[in-house]
C-alpha cells in the first residue's frame, strides 16, 4: 500500500478544493455549487457531544485532519481491483471507482440505451446531461446532523454515478456501483444520483470497499434518489470500508404518488460509520421500506440516524434496523417518524432490534415519533437483549459448541433483513461477508 505525501492535496487546504474544481468540466453553476459547499463547510462547526443530533456519538474522536485527495491508480492496481468487483454475474451495468477516480465506465446494453436509460459516471453525466444534474443534484439539506460533512462532500463533488430510467421502463437486473479506497490517508466523496421517472423500475446495488483492511481513509458519500409517480426503486448499499475508515453517508430519497421504495443498508466496515437516511413521502399511495443490518465488532461505532417524513397522507412507511454487537462495539439507532398536519391515514412503523453478544458492547436506541395528524397508525418498538436462552439450549443440547450456536442464531437474526435483498447473488455475497466477520472476531 502506498501512502500519500502529507504536503499536497490535503482536503482541509482550500487550494486543493480550488485546483480540483479547475481541472473539471466547468459549468458555472457546478463550480458555484462546489464553492458554496466549501463556504458552508468552513462556516459550520464540528459536531460536539452536546449536539442533540449527535447524542451518544463519540464526537471527540471525529477528525478530518490529514486526509488527501486520491491520485490516479496504476494499471496493475486497477486490473486487480476490477477483477474483485464482479459481485453479480450479469448486472444491468457496472461502474467502478478507485480512490475517487472512475476506472470502469459503465456499458449498458443497446436495448436499454435505446429505451433512453442513462447510467454514467458523474463526470460524464456533467458533460452529457447537465440539465438533469442541475435539476436533481444535492437539492436537500442534511437534516440529521451531518450538514458539515455533506458540505465537504459538495465541495469535492467529482466521483460517483448518475442513473436515470425513463417513464415506463422496467429493469429487473440490478445496476452495480463499486467504490474502492486503495491509498492510505485517502479521502473519497462518492455521489449517487438515481432518478426513476413515472412507472419506471430499477434496482441499484452499491459496494463500498477498501483494498487493504488496515488502511486509513475518510469516505463521505451522498445519495439523491427520486421515485416518480408509480416508480419502483430498490437499493442495496453495502458499507465494507477498511477498519480504519471514518465513513459518513447522507441519503435523501423522495417518493411521489404510488411509488415503491425499498432500501437495505448493510454495515460491516469502518472504525466509525454514520448513516443519515431521510425519506420524504410527497404523494399518496407511496410505500417505503427501510432496512438496516450490521455486525459491529472490536471498537466499531455504527451510528444510524433515520427520518421518515410523511408530507402526504394515505401512504405507508416501515423501517427495521437490526444490529448484532460483539467486543466493545457500539451501535446507535436514532429514528424519527414525522407526520405532517394534513397527512391523514398514514401508516408508519419503526423497529430497532439489537442483539448484544458481549457484555462490553453498547446499544443505544432512540426511536422517535412526531405526529401532527390524528387519523394515523404509527408505532415504534425497540428491544435490546441477548440470544433467546431456550433457542441456545436447543442447539447446545445437540452438541453444537456455544460460539457456533451463537453465530447461527445471529445469522438467523440477520436473515430477516437479508431476505429483503432483491438479488440472491448479491445477498449471498454479503451473507458470506458477515460470516467471515464473525469468524474473525
Amino acid at each position: 500500500m502506498t501512502t500519500l505525501s502529507t504536503s499536497a492535496g490535503n482536503i482541509l487546504d482550500q487550494a486543493t478544493q480550488k485546483n480540483l474544481s479547475q481541472g473539471q468540466v466547468s459549468h458555472d453553476w457546478f463550480i458555484q455549487l462546489k464553492q458554496k459547499g466549501w463556504d458552508k463547510f468552513t462556516a459550520l462547526p464540528m459536531p460536539i457531544r452536546t449536539d442533540e443530533k449527535w447524542r451518544y456519538s463519540d464526537t471527540r474522536s471525529l477528525s478530518l485532519e490529514n486526509y488527501h485527495i486520491g491520485k490516479i491508480p496504476s494499471e496493475d492496481e486497477v486490473n486487480q481491483l476490477i477483477a474483485q468487483s464482479h459481485f453479480i454475474s450479469r448486472p444491468a451495468g457496472l461502474i467502478i471507482h478507485i480512490d475517487g477516480h472512475c476506472v470502469l465506465r459503465p456499458a449498458i446494453s443497446a436495448e436499454l440505451a435505446a429505451q433512453g436509460v442513462k447510467f454514467e459516471s458523474l463526470e460524464d453525466a456533467l458533460k452529457h446531461h447537465p440539465a438533469l444534474l442541475k435539476e436533481f443534484l444535492l437539492k436537500h439539506e442534511a437534516g440529521l446532523g451531518g450538514a458539515k460533512f455533506l458540505a465537504l462532500h459538495q465541495a469535492y463533488l467529482q466521483s460517483g454515478y448518475v442513473l436515470h430510467v425513463p417513464k415506463g421502463v422496467e429493469i429487473k437486473q440490478p445496476f452495480v456501483s463499486v467504490n474502492w479506497t486503495l491509498t492510505d490517508g485517502v479521502a473519497v466523496f462518492p455521489h449517487a444520483l438515481v432518478v426513476a421517472d413515472e412507472r419506471a423500475q430499477l434496482s441499484i446495488h452499491e459496494y463500498n470497499l477498501s483494498a487493504h483492511p488496515q488502511q486509513k481513509a475518510l469516505a463521505i458519500s451522498a445519495a439523491d434518489l427520486y421515485a416518480g409517480s408509480g416508480a419502483r426503486i430498490s437499493r442495496f448499499s453495502v458499507q465494507g470500508w477498511s477498519q480504519e475508515t471514518q465513513s459518513f453517508e447522507i441519503a435523501n430519497t423522495s417518493g411521489a404518488k404510488d411509488s415503491h421504495i425499498s432500501s437495505v443498508n448493510a454495515a460491516l466496515g469502518s472504525r466509525r460509520a454514520r448513516l443519515e437516511n431521510t425519506v420524504r413521502i410527497d404523494g399518496p399511495g407511496a410505500d417505503v421500506r427501510l432496512y438496516g443490518i450490521s455486525v459491529a465488532t472490536g471498537e466499531q461505532e455504527f451510528d444510524q440516524r433515520t427520518l421518515q417524513i410523511h408530507n402526504a397522507g394515505k401512504a405507508k412507511s416501515d423501517l427495521l434496523f437490526k444490529n448484532v454487537l460483539l467486543g466493545k462495539s457500539r451501535t446507535i439507532f436514532s429514528g424519527l417518524i414525522k407526520v405532517a398536519p394534513d397527512a391523514q391515514q398514514t401508516d408508519a412503523y419503526q423497529t430497532n432490534r439489537n442483539l448484544l453478544l458481549s457484555g462490553e458492547a453498547e446499544a443505544d436506541s432512540m426511536p422517535g415519533l412526531e405526529i401532527e395528524a390524528n387519523d394515523v397508525k404509527c408505532s415504534h418498538g425497540a428491544t435490546t437483549g441477548q440470544v433467546n436462552p431456550e433457542e441456545l439450549f436447543y442447539l447446545l443440547a445437540r452438541g453444537i459448541p456455544l460460539s457456533v450456536a451463537q453465530e447461527l442464531l445471529a445469522e438467523g437474526f440477520l436473515e430477516e433483513v437479508l431476505s429483503k435483498v432483491d438479488d440472491e447473488e448479491s445477498a449471498s455475497v454479503v451473507r458470506e461477508m458477515f460470516r467471515q466477520k464473525f469468524h474473525q472476531s
Binding site: 457484555g359 436506541s365 390524528n374 408505532s379 425497540a382 428491544t383 437483549g385
Partner: protein, 475 residues
C-alpha cells in the same frame, strides 16, 4: 416576536387570574422579597426562615448555578423563553399570601367542584380561600397516629432545623443543585413542601396527603419535598388534587427527592391540574436501595407547559422502579412528560407505562431515558407509551433514549399512536350516547388500566375530570 406582542404575552401570563378573582398583591416589602431574583432575595428568604448558614450557602451556590446554566432549548420547547424570571415573585411570607373570600371565587370553578364531588370543607381551601378550612378538626386524629408511629411529617424549614441528623444527609443528594437549570432555581428559593421520615419497619396504612398540613405552605411555587423511607417501611404520598388550582404565580418549579432504603416501598402520586397560564417545571427522582421499590404515579391535566420526567436510580440489588403516567393536553397546552430509569445494580427491574391524550391543538410529548451500564447483569426494563389523538390538529411526540450494555440485560420499548376508531364511536352512538359522551367513554377506556392504579377517590375524580376535559372536543 414584536415588542407589542411580547409585552402583551407577559401581561397575559401575569394577569390572567387577577381578572377572574379581581384580587391583587399588597405591595409591602416588609413581608415579601419583592420582584425578581437576586442574592438579596435569596438572603431575604434565608433570613425570614432563620436558616443555618449551610442552607444559606446552599441557596447562594444554587443561585449562581441557575444564572450560569443555559436554558435547555436545544432539546426542549422554545416556549421556555417566555418565562420572565425578573417579573416573578420568589417568596411571599404567610401574612402576604393572596386572600379572597368564597364569594370572589368564579362560578365556573364552584361548578367544577360540584361536578367533581369535592367535599364541601375542602372546596374553599382548594379555591384559595384560606383560614376557613378546618383542617385541624378533620385530620388531627390522623396526625396523632402518625407521631405515635414515629413518622416525622413537616416542612423543609422545620425538617432541616429540628431533624438535621435525618434529613441533611439526603437533602440535595438525589437531585443535586446542578442537575438542571430548574432544580438549581428551586434550590435557591425553595419554601414549602413536605419532609417525611418513616422509621424502620413502619408501614403507613393510609396515604399521606399534601393538604394534610393545611396551615403550612403546601402548594408553594418552589416546594421542596424529601421523603425517606427507612429499611422495610412503606408509605404512599399524594400530591395535588383533581380540582383546578387557581394560581397567580406563573412559574412552578418543585424538587421532589425520594429515598427508599433497603426493602422499603415508596409510592408517590401526583395529580397536576394547574390553571392554563402556569409553567410547571418539576424535577422528581427517587433512589431505591436493595430490594426497595419506588413507584411514581403521575397525572398531568393542567398547566400551559409541564416538563416533568420522574426518575428512579436503582442503586441496590433487585430494586424496582416504576412510572405510570397519564397526560392530557388540551388547546394551547403542552404536556412534556416522561420517565428516567437509571439501573445501577444487578437484577434491577423497571417498568414505564405512559399514556397521553391530545385534544384540540394540544401537544403531548413523551421523553424517556433507560440506562444500563456495562458492569450489570440480569436487568430488565419494559416501556410502553401510547398516544391518543382526538382532533385533526392534535399533536404527539415520542423521544425515548435507551442505552444498554452488560450481560443478560433486556430492554423493550413499544409506542403506538392512534385515534378513537370510528367504529367504536358509531357503536356507542347507536346505543343512544351523544358523540361527546361516546368520545369521553372511549378516552376513559384508553386510560382505564392506569386509572385503576390510583387510590379509589382519586380515580373517581380523575374519570370525571377527563369527562369534563373531553366536553366540546367533538362536534
Amino acid at each position: 416576536m414584536s415588542q407589542f406582542e411580547d409585552t402583551q404575552a407577559q401581561r397575559d401570563a401575569i394577569d390572567v387570574d387577577r381578572t377572574k378573582g379581581d384580587f391583587k398583591y399588597e405591595e409591602n416589602y416588609a413581608f415579601d422579597a419583592g420582584i425578581g431574583l437576586s442574592e438579596k432575595v435569596v438572603n431575604y428568604i434565608a433570613d425570614v426562615k432563620s436558616e443555618e448558614s449551610w442552607i444559606r450557602e446552599f441557596r447562594l451556590k444554587a443561585l449562581k448555578t441557575f444564572t450560569d446554566m443555559p436554558m435547555p432549548t436545544h432539546w426542549a420547547t422554545e416556549d421556555l423563553k417566555n418565562i420572565h424570571f425578573d417579573k416573578i415573585r420568589y417568596y411571599l411570607s404567610k401574612g402576604q399570601k393572596v386572600s379572597r373570600t368564597w364569594e370572589e371565587v368564579p362560578d365556573d370553578v364552584k361548578e367544577t367542584f360540584e361536578r367533581l364531588g369535592i367535599p364541601e370543607a375542602e372546596r374553599k381551601f382548594l379555591a384559595g380561600v384560606e383560614a376557613q378550612f378546618d383542617s385541624e378538626a378533620v385530620y388531627s386524629r390522623m396526625k396523632d397516629e402518625m407521631s405515635k408511629l414515629g413518622v416525622i411529617f413537616c416542612g423543609p424549614t422545620e425538617g432541616l432545623r429540628d431533624h438535621p441528623e435525618i434529613f441533611r444527609k439526603w437533602f440535595g443528594k438525589v437531585i443535586p443543585i446542578g442537575d438542571n437549570k430548574f432544580s438549581a432555581l428551586n434550590s435557591a428559593v425553595f419554601s414549602g413542601g413536605s419532609f417525611i421520615y418513616v422509621p424502620k419497619g413502619v408501614k403507613v396504612a393510609q396515604p399521606l396527603q399534601a393538604y394534610f398540613r393545611i396551615n403550612a405552605e403546601n402548594f408553594g411555587q418552589f416546594e421542596r419535598t424529601l421523603i425517606i423511607a427507612d429499611e422495610g417501611s412503606e408509605i404512599t404520598y399524594m400530591e395535588g388534587c383533581t380540582a383546578p388550582k387557581f394560581e397567580t404565580a406563573t412559574l412552578h418549579s418543585a424538587v421532589v427527592e425520594l429515598v427508599a432504603l433497603k426493602g422499603a416501598k415508596i409510592q408517590y402520586i401526583t395529580v397536576q391540574n394547574w390553571s392554563a397560564n402556569v409553567f410547571n417545571l418539576v424535577t422528581k427522582r427517587g433512589v431505591a436501595e436493595e430490594d426497595a421499590e419506588v413507584r411514581w404515579i403521575d397525572c398531568n391535566i393542567g398547566s400551559r407547559l409541564t416538563m416533568k420526567y420522574p426518575g428512579v436510580v436503582l442503586r441496590g440489588k433487585r430494586a424496582r422502579g416504576e412510572v405510570l403516567s397519564i397526560a392530557l393536553a388540551n388547546d394551547g397546552q403542552h404536556q412534556d412528560t416522561g420517565a428516567k430509569m437509571i439501573h445501577a445494580a444487578d437484577e434491577t427491574t423497571s417498568n414505564i407505562i405512559a399514556k397521553s391524550i391530545s385534544v384540540g391543538t394540544g401537544r403531548s410529548t413523551y421523553r424517556g431515558l433507560v440506562h444500563m451500564p456495562k458492569t450489570l447483569r440480569n436487568c430488565k426494563n419494559n416501556t410502553e407509551c401510547d398516544a391518543l389523538l382526538i382532533n385533526e390538529h392534535s399533536r404527539t411526540d415520542t423521544y425515548p433514549a435507551i442505552s444498554v450494555r452488560g450481560q443478560k440485560n433486556f430492554v423493550q420499548h413499544e409506542a403506538s399512536v392512534s385515534k378513537v376508531s370510528a367504529e367504536q364511536i358509531f357503536y356507542m352512538m347507536q346505543r343512544g350516547l351523544s358523540e361527546g359522551e361516546a368520545m369521553s367513554l372511549a378516552v376513559n377506556g384508553f386510560v382505564n388500566d392506569l386509572v385503576k392504579e390510583f387510590p379509589m377517590e382519586y380515580s373517581v375524580e380523575l374519570k370525571r375530570l377527563i369527562e369534563l376535559q373531553m366536553e366540546g372536543s367533538v362536534g
